[in-house]
């Protein structure tokens, strides 16, 4: 397992109007690491993810991918790298959404190959080959020509994972990947993520699936009110002395 730091966040802050959603969060993720972010609703988990993936502008702090600064502070203000730099930096990561956000007018195959061909400049043949490999890996070989609306939620989410992987990102972010699925379909998506963990894919996962986080993560981060309240190995977190952490985990463990 490599030891390079792929993602570094220093003193990130983000507010919406009066409300501070993220307050001074720092964390770094090494190659091959699986980091789960848990915490109650409104704790800032998703905002953290959206700031890290540059879907949301942060107000302060530093965001660094593979040593390259995407955003930093200058004279108390947060500045971002130029458009073309940001475009390059975006190639380092992929994001899997809670609601899949597949393109409904494209077939499964087109969903997966379009960005590699039109954005990354891969030849169509190579893109198709790569897509078919991914589809086979994710057990969707027979769905190549289907449209997203013909698939179950679990299948759609697996396609969206394939779509993200087709661009060969160094880090894969998951924003509550199973929250829109019923328990039966949750399993098939978790299985895929588990498989990726085995292949040492670097992943940052915002999730409510406690048992899953426990079994899979190298590190769990517990967020509350915009700060990292606790972090550590699953064992450390699940045996935490911190009252809030215990209470939260207790609720989910039933």
């Amino acid at each position: 397992m490599g030891k390079n730091v792929l993602l570094e966040i220093n003193h990130m802050s983000k507010g919406f109007g009066e409300l501070d959603v993220i307050r001074d969060i720092s964390l770094s993720v090494r190659e091959g690491e699986v980091v789960s972010i848990i915490g109650p609703s409104g704790s800032g988990k998703s905002t953290l993810l959206r700031c890290a993936t540059m879907l949301e502008r942060m107000d302060g702090g530093e965001l660094i991918y593979l040593g390259e600064r995407a955003a930093w502070e200058e004279e108390g203000r947060c500045v971002y790298a130029g458009k073309s730099r940001r475009k390059e930096i975006r190639k380092y990561f992929g994001l899997v959404f809670q609601n899949f956000n597949l393109f409904p007018h494209y077939t499964v195959l087109k969903n997966i190959i379009d960005a590699p061909v039109c954005v990354a400049g891969l030849s169509k043949r190579d893109a198709v080959e790569r897509a078919r490999m991914l589809l086979e890996q994710l057990g969707l070989s027979d769905k190549e020509q289907a449209y997203p609306c013909q698939l179950s939620g679990g299948q759609q989410q697996r396609v969206s994972i394939a779509r993200a992987l087709a661009l060969q990102p160094r880090i894969l972010f998951f924003d509550e990947p199973t929250s829109a699925l019923d328990p039966e379909l949750t399993g098939e998506v978790l299985k895929v993520i588990r498989q990726l963990a085995k292949e040492h894919m670097t992943m940052i996962i915002v999730t409510h699936e406690m048992q899953f986080a426990r079994e899979l993560s190298d590190r769990i981060i517990f967020m509350e009110q915009g700060v990292i309240r606790a972090q550590g190995t699953p064992q450390e977190i699940f045996n935490s002395k911190d009252e809030r952490v215990r209470e939260f985990i207790g609720k989910f463990a039933g």
Binding site: L55, K87, L95, F97, N101, V119, A164
Partner: protein
């Protein structure tokens, strides 16, 4: 006038009507998209101007707009334009229909979920690709029923070109009716309009069906 002559005359008018119809669609559909961009612009001035434009175009009669567009060059600027009649008609129809189309586009564009834009952004699509590859095809599918409505209205609105004495079907029907003191030309014109619109509706339904492969 014999029925055959009348039908031939009306048929000629029909060609002119179809000309106004197709040219208006050809120009006003893209123009409407541009106006809708203005209407949704982050720039307050651009947005204000677009809003004002739409408000005037929708708030005054098309017949009045036809007259203004045709006579303004002469009355306001003293220009004597030859052969301006037909271009004036197309121009007036285009700027009027673009305003309606703009609002239809806006409704469609705003109905697409933010998630589609975000997915495209994370995958690295630029703004141009995002709009034309991801957003617009979905917008077209959603707004098609509204576009059909406007298109059918346009077929009938072409009859307003009579105020500029352009020889489209309605103008001709009226002339023959007056000359022959007969209802027949008007009835026949009605049938022509109906057939035209039947074809329009039929075509649009086919297009709608062709986009029905996804939800």
């Amino acid at each position: 006038m014999s029925t055959v002559t009348m039908l031939m005359q009306l048929g000629k008018g029909m060609i002119s009507t179809a000309g106004i119809f197709f040219l208006t669609l050809l120009f006003s559909l893209p123009l409407g998209l541009i106006v809708s961009f203005g209407r949704m612009s982050g720039n307050g001035l651009v947005r204000g101007v677009s809003k004002f434009y739409i408000s005037i175009m929708r708030g005054t009669p098309l017949m009045l707009q036809l007259l203004v567009v045709y006579f303004a060059p002469y009355y306001v600027f003293g220009l004597n334009l030859r052969g301006y009649r037909f271009p004036a008609i197309i121009l007036a129809f285009c700027i009027n229909y673009a305003a309606y189309f703009a609002e239809i586009y806006r409704g469609g564009i705003e109905s697409i979920s933010v998630g589609q834009y975000e997915a495209a952004k994370v995958l690295g699509y630029n703004r141009f690709q995002t709009f034309f590859k991801i957003i617009l095809p979905q917008v077209m599918k959603r707004i098609l029923p509204s576009i059909t409505n406007e298109t059918i209205t346009l077929v009938k609105d072409t009859s307003l070109a009579f105020v500029l004495a352009h020889a489209e079907m309605f103008t001709i029907a009226k002339q023959i009716a007056a000359k022959d003191t007969s209802m027949m030309p008007l009835m026949a014109a009605g049938v022509f309009y109906y057939i035209f619109n039947f074809l329009v509706a039929f075509t649009m339904e086919r297009i709608e069906k062709s986009m029905g492969y996804y939800k």
